[in-house]
Structures are given as structure tokens and as C-alpha cells.
């Protein structure tokens, strides 16, 4: 996982209506955009969250990863707040550009409690394709 404001070396992010698969540019998506198979040719896909409470980008990420098999970098940009990152990661994001003015406390237990507050989850996700009940013996 990378947490940065880094723009991929020289890589441009192009909005969907201007983006061409052969351009080699990164693709910038709005949370309302409809995912398409040709997107997987982008080296990077960035999804812009208009608000940290807007879950559409989570579903879009899941579709890109699971339905279309996108394996490149999936970056969350826009209103990316630290407390939402644990959801985003499980939906397939692997790079996060925090919203302006947001930062993480220096590495340590406090950061862990924000970025990875749970050691495991019940349901399947992009990160963990099998639900807990199938991975571990659930005993009282």
C-alpha cells in the first residue's frame, strides 16, 4: 500500500471523455462512470471521491477489480479521509491521495488503528476472496 501525493513519474491522468487506451495515460474516473473492459489497459486508474461518504467509488473499484480484472494501480483521490481507507483497501484500492488538509499520525499503533483497525472481517472482499467462515474454523 502506498500513501502519497505522488504523481506517477511523468504519468498523466486523463478524464474518461478524453482518454484513449493506446495513449498510455492514466485514467481518471468519476464515481458515476460506468466501468468498461477497455479500461484495464490503463496503467493507473484513479477514482475521484466527491465526498468521503460517497460509496459509489467503492462499488466501481470492486467492479474494475473483479468483473474486468484490472490489475494495475487503483488510486483513490478527492475526499479521501484516513478513516475510510480500510474500506477502500478491501475494495481493491492500493494507492491513496489524501484530501487536502488530511494527514496520518506518524507510524505507530495509532496509525494502525486507523488504517487496519480489524485483524479480519466476516465477508469476502477484493483483498480476501473467501469469507471468514470458509477460511477458519469458527468455534465458540
Amino acid at each position: 500500500m502506498a500513501l502519497s501525493n505522488r504523481i506517477q513519474n511523468g504519468l498523466r491522468l486523463t478524464p474518461l471523455d478524453e482518454w484513449m487506451p493506446e495513449s498510455g495515460d492514466g485514467l481518471l474516473l468519476d464515481v458515476a462512470d460506468e466501468p468498461e473492459a477497455r479500461f484495464i489497459r490503463a496503467p493507473v486508474i484513479a477514482i475521484r471521491f466527491p465526498a468521503f461518504t460517497d460509496g459509489r467509488g467503492l462499488s466501481l473499484a470492486v467492479l474494475l477489480r473483479t468483473r474486468f480484472g484490472f490489475e494495475g494501480e487503483l488510486r483513490a483521490i478527492g475526499e479521501v479521509h484516513p478513516d475510510i481507507i480500510h474500506y477502500m483497501r478491501r475494495c481493491g484500492f492500493d494507492n491513496f491521495q489524501l484530501a487536502e488538509g488530511k494527514c496520518l499520525p506518524p507510524a505507530g499503533s495509532k496509525t494502525d488503528s486507523i488504517l487496519a483497525p480489524y485483524s479480519d472481517y466476516y465477508q469476502a472482499s477484493v483483498l480476501q476472496p473467501e469469507p471468514a467462515s470458509r477460511r477458519i474454523r469458527r468455534v465458540a
Binding site: D54, R67, D83, S113, I114, P117, Q123, A124
Partner: protein
């Protein structure tokens, strides 16, 4: 009932530390008001008129006696000695301190409880029939499926940031005591022609500002597909539900915009990719969950107790309670007892710490240590031997939990309203009390027969006024509290589909509500034919005679 394993315990404990650190960051100024609002809502904490309100999850309304004792402890130590049974089978505390909430959660975690997703725009606590597993008219016990949905929806990566709150209800009985038709998703579980467990799936029901009865989008869905099909619905809603206007953000608006057929098509297309995926329930998943809800070993009892008959003859009050508050159990010799919280002078659903402890003791003494909360805001003891009903009744009487009014007009469903809720247009508790005062005579109430009277303090309809046979809605008229009355609503079940009430006419002032109710009842009494219920009579004669009596003209 479901018992936590090490996985559940670990998750809930981690939830407590997670929430504690969020609270600390907020108090230290590291989280903005707006960020913390969203985070605390996903943990059941509202900030209300007078104080924060903490809503504790009671999954599908089932509690153990140890859990209820812990709730009593919390009421005593962190609140003002009482709690409130909500219309979604949860328990609410009205006076906790924001800084103490993490300690309350820690106390809850000791008995495998939490407040996860009891508010906020996420999948809420799943609700069901308060008689699940013991009802005489049950096809399939819905609780294993409730628990599977609880686990699947807990901190779901994709569905915790929805356009709006999302409520799922399941019934497995002919009489739909869970009111599934007025939920975002309603599930009816049954055994199909081949003897397998299957679901009918309704979507887009709901009350609030735009009340709608849900529509069936899939029949006979095999149990193994339950979660993948829910995933398909949730994904379509999460992506396409409106986010620009919170009054248009519920799934019912999306279903209406797409039409039920259009919505079904999109869901089915989505599901075609998910069907058979990793959330598919295997036979072992289902069996493991069903085992949690295996029926207790009921000692064999005499089918009928002569003792009970004698007591009923000598104690007419007891007899009336048996008639009204005791429901048939699937096992011979047992009964389901509803302990009514609706006693005049106490806000509907409010229970004191000592009442909670008493109920917990009775659950151990007369049953298998289990208690239910009904959406009508009463406690239920699911496994009482009929021969011991008299003993229980005496104790319930002494604790003000034996009003023989279950299903009668004074068993009012009532939201907290303007006394507590910051969204209210008007108070609801004093209206309930005024009506109960006026109708004190239980003989009269019995004569009136089954009648659901529901009160909400605003359009959000937490008091389910649209589906009350008589519904009362608080409205704001130029700064004063007024009440709009509707008739003929019905939550569904038996042979009739859910129906929304019709507004009877212009709203009235609070002081006039009891007299309007009296006129409505008089109209019924004058028009009814033998054995007719209020609802039956209304359906036959329509709203006009009621209008005429209330307003003088048509």
C-alpha cells in the same frame, strides 16, 4: 440463540478499540465534527435534543438473560436508570455521555453485544418476527438467515457508505409480524414445492415521507443464493441510488424511478456475475448456522393444565391477560408471553433497570434464558410452561409489565418524538398518554378489539403511523404542534397485503386528539357488524362515515 465464537468476540473487541480511538481523536480535535458525525453514527450514537442517544443493537430482537442484565447495569450506571425499546427491536439509551460511550461499548462487548450499524447510511440491524422459532404458525425459522445477514453486512467493504439507511426484515410465518412489506428489503422464507428453503424477495418498501409497499422482484430464491442476491441489490442501489437529496435517497425512490421490472432486470444482470461466487452459502454454512438455533430440549408437558383453567376462573384479570398477551407456542404445553410496556403514565417502550433485571430473572426461571424485543416495543418470553403462567403473571403484575393490552388500542407504538428527538415536529409521548388516559377502561378496549394505534413525531415515521389502523403524525403548523390522523393502515400478514392509511382530514391540535380518537371509535361501534374488527369495518364502510363524525360534513 446464536452464541459468539472467538472470531465474533475478536471483531467486537476490535470495534471497541477502534471506536475508542475515533472518540479520542475527535476530543483531541484531530477529527472534524463532520467526520466524527459519520463515524459515530455507524456506531449508533446520535446527538439529540438534550443529550447523545446510544442505540444498542439487539440482533433481530433476541437477547439472553445475561445480556439484558448488562443492559440494566448500563441503564443504572451510565444513564438515568432506564432504557427504551425501539420500533426496530433495539434498545436505546437517552442520557449517555459522549466520552463514556467507549466504556459502555466495552461493557456490552463483555456479553457479546455492540452498537455497530444501528444508525447511519448503512445496512442496519436486521429485524424479524419476535416469535421466531416458537410461533405456532411458522413455516421456517428465520433467525439463522438473520444471523448470516448480520455477519455478512457487518463493516461490509462496499456497502457501509450507502445513499441512505437500509433496513432488511425477514419473516418465516403466515402472519407477517416483521412487517416485511415496509422495509427496503423484505424477505419471506418458506419451504418450496420441493421441500427446500427458499425466499421471496421484496424491495422498495418503506415508510417515511413517501410511504410505499414493497414489490416482489424474485420468487423462490434458493437459500444458498441469499447473500449473492442481496449483494446484487445492494450494488445497484449503492451505484444508482440518489445522493443529491436525502429525501429521495431511499431505495424505494430508485425502484419507483426504474419501475420494479426495470429494477429487477438490472439486479438480475448484476446477479448473473455474482451467482455461485464466494458469498454463496454452502450446505455446511447453513447447517452450522441452523445448529445455533436448534430447538431446546423441551421437557414434555401436559397439553392442558387444569390448574390454569381453575386460576382463570377465579382470576378474571389473569384470564384476560392470558387471552390477550399469551400466544400459541409450537410445542404442546408451552406458551409465548408478551410483557406489555404500555402502561398509562410510562412512555411506550421505556423500561427501568429493575424491570430489565426482573425480566431476565423470569427468562431464566420460566424459560431457557432468552428474551425477545418486539417492534411493538414490548418484551417477549418465548418459552413459558402454560402451567406456570399464573405465577409469572403475578410477578409481571407486581412489576407493571402485565397490562392485558397486547394488540389493543392502548398497546401504542410510539416514537420518542419531541421529548427527545431533534428531528421531531411534535411530541408523541404525551399524545400516547392522553389516549391511554381516556381509554383506561380495559373492558371497553376489549370490546373494541384488535386495534393498532401508531404515533410518529415527524415524517420519518419511526412510529410506523402509516401502517397503524389508526395512525397519528405530528406536524408543525405555523410553529405549533398539530396532529394528522390516518385510518385503515395495516402492516400486512394473514390474508391481507400491507396497506397504507388514508388521511382522514385536516390536522388537529394536541388537546383535541383524544376526542377525535373517541369519535373514530364511536363511528366504529355504531357501524360494526357482529365480530367485525376495526380494520374490517373500515375496509367495508370506507373513510366517509369517520370524516362525517369528526368534521360534521363530508
Amino acid at each position: 440463540m446464536y452464541t459468539y465464537d472467538t472470531f465474533d468476540r475478536q471483531f467486537v473487541r476490535e470495534r471497541v478499540s477502534h471506536y475508542r480511538s475515533q472518540t479520542e481523536r475527535y476530543l483531541a480535535g484531530e477529527l472534524t465534527e463532520d467526520e466524527f458525525l459519520q463515524l459515530r453514527l455507524r456506531n449508533g450514537l446520535y446527538v439529540q435534543r438534550l443529550a447523545p442517544m446510544l442505540r444498542v443493537a439487539v440482533p433481530y430482537g433476541t437477547l439472553s438473560s445475561a445480556q439484558l442484565r448488562k443492559l440494566a447495569h448500563i441503564a443504572r450506571h451510565f444513564d438515568r436508570g432506564y432504557g427504551h425499546l425501539s420500533t426496530r427491536q433495539n434498545m436505546q439509551f437517552n442520557w449517555p455521555l459522549l466520552a463514556e460511550v467507549p466504556d459502555i461499548l466495552e461493557a456490552l462487548a463483555e456479553v457479546d453485544m455492540h452498537a455497530i450499524q444501528t444508525s447511519g447510511s448503512c445496512i442496519r440491524n436486521v429485524t424479524t418476527d419476535q416469535f421466531a422459532g416458537v410461533a405456532g404458525d411458522e413455516w421456517v425459522d428465520p433467525r439463522p438467515y438473520c444471523e448470516l445477514i448480520r455477519q455478512w453486512s457487518t463493516s461490509h467493504p462496499e456497502f457501509d457508505w450507502l445513499p441512505r439507511k437500509f433496513k432488511i426484515a425477514i419473516t418465516g410465518s403466515r402472519d407477517d409480524r416483521a412487517a416485511t412489506a415496509v422495509h427496503d428489503i423484505g424477505l419471506k422464507v418458506f419451504r418450496n414445492d420441493t421441500g427446500s428453503i427458499a425466499f421471496d424477495v421484496l424491495v422498495g418498501g418503506g415508510l417515511g415521507r413517501t410511504p410505499v409497499v414493497g414489490q416482489v422482484i424474485r420468487r423462490n430464491l434458493a437459500a444458498e443464493h441469499l447473500l449473492t442476491y442481496l449483494e446484487a441489490i445492494m450494488r445497484v442501489y449503492n451505484r444508482f441510488g440518489r445522493r443529491d437529496n436525502k429525501y429521495k435517497a431511499r431505495i424505494k425512490i430508485l425502484v419507483r424511478a426504474m419501475t420494479a421490472d426495470g429494477f429487477r432486470e438490472i439486479v438480475d444482470e448484476e446477479w448473473s456475475h455474482l451467482e455461485g461466487g464466494s458469498s454463496t452459502l454452502g450446505a455446511d454454512d447453513l447447517a452450522r448456522m441452523e445448529a445455533h438455533f436448534a430447538r431446546p430440549d423441551y421437557p414434555r408437558l401436559e397439553t392442558e393444565s387444569t390448574e390454569l383453567d381453575t386460576r382463570r376462573l377465579s382470576h378474571p384479570q389473569f384470564s384476560r391477560w392470558v387471552e390477550q398477551n399469551v400466544a400459541p407456542h409450537r410445542e404442546a404445553g408451552y406458551a409465548i408471553v408478551t410483557l406489555s410496556t404500555k402502561i398509562t403514565g410510562v412512555p411506550p417502550g421505556d423500561v427501568s433497570d429493575s424491570q430489565m433485571e426482573a425480566v431476565a430473572d423470569w427468562a431464566d426461571e420460566y424459560g431457557f434464558g432468552e428474551i425477545r424485543i418486539s417492534h411493538e416495543q414490548n418484551f417477549v418470553l418465548p418459552d413459558v410452561s402454560r402451567a406456570r403462567l399464573f405465577e409469572l403473571w403475578q410477578q409481571a403484575e407486581a412489576n407493571q409489565l402485565a397490562t392485558a393490552n397486547v394488540g389493543l388500542i392502548s398497546d401504542i407504538i410510539c416514537c420518542p418524538g419531541g421529548d427527545y428527538c431533534s428531528l421531531a415536529n411534535a411530541k408523541s409521548i404525551p399524545v400516547a398518554e392522553a389516549i391511554q388516559q381516556q381509554l383506561k377502561d380495559l373492558d371497553y378496549q376489549h370490546d373494541i378489539g384488535p386495534l393498532d394505534l401508531n404515533i410518529s413525531g415527524c415524517m420519518n415515521a419511526c412510529g410506523h403511523h402509516h401502517v397503524g389502523h389508526i395512525g397519528i403524525l405530528g406536524v408543525d403548523k405555523k410553529g405549533s404542534e398539530y396532529y394528522q390522523i390516518s385510518l385503515g393502515g395495516h402492516a400486512g400478514g394473514g390474508n391481507s397485503a400491507a396497506t397504507l392509511g388514508q388521511i382522514v382530514g385536516p390536522s388537529c391540535a394536541r388537546a383535541d386528539v383524544p376526542s377525535v380518537i373517541k369519535k373514530i371509535l364511536d363511528t366504529f361501534v355504531d357501524n360494526r357488524v357482529v365480530d367485525e374488527t376495526f380494520l374490517g369495518c373500515f375496509q367495508r364502510i370506507g373513510i366517509e362515515p369517520f370524516k362525517e363524525r369528526i368534521y360534521g360534513t363530508v
